[in-house]
Symmetry: C2
Subunit: 274 residues, 2 copies
């Protein structure tokens, strides 16, 4: 039987690696199971968690974990944000998107997000500080929707979905716009029968840069990320929305739910209480 | 009647701009006509040509003109070439592509070009110094063709065509590869009924950068370009292939021929003898 893994938190029971002592909490790639055998040599992102009374432990999975760091590294290192830039984020209420938008606001940008339900749009505008948000499922034409929110065009598009949203964004980028390619979870992107991206030609005359990235290439700035984002959180400058499923039995449904957008915020599965 | 313009050379007959004197040769955006009225204020790239006995005048249209400068700026400023890089160039025998490949060879790269006829493939290998070249019209599958020439992948793709060649290149890029988006003349790129680019998702896990550019953004390095490329030519390190049509009457056919690849090398229309 195939062992399924994911980014998780675990308490060390026993260890022969002196960097990890019994009682420590670690994050890393961990099996979907109650007890895991982890090899630090194979688990390049295994790290000790510094517990902090002011921060929920689960935030080390999302806000302070791989998702949050993806947002931080992608926005700061790929998007070259400047004060006043117009920023568009897709899957804006997701584990990554919600931090991208809040970082963009802290940079003094105008920020619009798209999501797949009315409830998520409300969260984006009322809790996460997005200037505007829209439900892409209610839009007959994504190009028209983007022109409504960005009449002068988009400087930065943080793309979590690919497909027709990326195609519409290409039509609405400003000259020298930047597109961070972070994820392409849309069904169109994953299907071989999809129609593909048709507007890439606009990258030439608009001198656009599209760049794919993985957070694992930026681990040298992880300490800086942790320090800054913890501070923003403690100062009340950012918030984080989680969707917690209780028990390992719900893990498969929680995973499948990601593809239909059932989760609201970072999907967490709690296998055991602290 | 619409006036048609293109990048051309002309001799000044009369001028009230003191930068241009009767007898000077200028290059810039010029009408398809025997006599043109040019306004230097509207013609941002109008410039005086320094004649040189060792260099054919027509080379200031291609090798030392907008096409050559597109190759130079795109390759040096967008592609970040390093010695030993594997470089792929499409439309490699064209006005831009032929210089890209030769610059890449001067950088110590391995260079492969694609073109649309057996004759062009021979020119690429025997005259322009490409390591390998292939006729894309003879390939059943472009992905297979690229894997044959780049078993370890492509570092730099200088894209002059877009469409299915770009899609195949995306599948064959190395991690941190760079794609300069220079032109998309393929029929697939221009047709709204095309199938679009389906492999852009690979830009995420391979951390690719795709960047569109226009030579006009790099005019500050034009003097450096002119100095370097003139020197390479005089030292015999680069050559340039032109396809000259005689007389303005042939201009429409010469233009249309570009889209079927009828020209071999830079297409020039000679309106008048020097």
């Amino acid at each position: 039987m195939q062992r399924i893994e994911g980014f998780g938190l675990a308490r060390v029971i026993d260890s022969d690696d002196t960097n990890y002592k019994p009682g420590d909490i670690v994050s890393g790639i961990i099996g979907w199971e109650e007890y895991s055998l982890l090899r630090s040599s194979d688990n390049l992102q295994l790290r000790n968690i510094q517990l902090d009374d002011d921060i929920p432990l689960s935030y080390h999975l999302g806000l302070l974990g791989m998702a949050g760091f993806t947002a931080y590294a992608g926005f700061n290192e790929i998007c070259c944000p400047k004060k006043g830039d117009s920023v568009f984020v897709s899957a804006a209420c997701g584990a990554v998107g919600q931090l991208v938008g809040q970082l963009a606001k802290l940079h003094g940008c105008y920020v619009v997000g798209s999501a797949g339900s009315k409830q998520k749009v409300e969260i984006l505008k009322n809790e996460l500080g997005y200037d505007e948000a829209f439900n892409y499922k209610e839009e007959a034409d994504l190009d028209t929707a983007l022109k409504r929110y960005f009449p002068e065009g988009i400087d930065i598009y943080f793309d979590n979905v690919g497909g027709s949203m990326l195609d519409a964004a290409l039509l609405n980028m400003k000259v020298r716009g930047r597109i961070a390619l972070c994820g392409m979870v849309s069904l169109q992107s994953l299907s071989t029968s999809s129609q593909g991206i048709k507007n890439l030609y606009s990258a030439i005359y608009k001198r656009l840069r599209l760049e794919g990235f993985l957070q694992s290439d930026y681990l040298h700035i992880f300490p800086q990320f942790l320090e800054n984002v913890k501070r923003y959180y403690k100062e009340g400058k950012i918030v984080y929305v989680e969707d917690i499923s209780e028990g390992l039995d719900l893990a498969p449904a929680a995973l499948v739910g990601l593809f239909s957008g059932k989760n609201i915020g970072k999907q967490v599965v709690r296998v055991a209480k602290e």
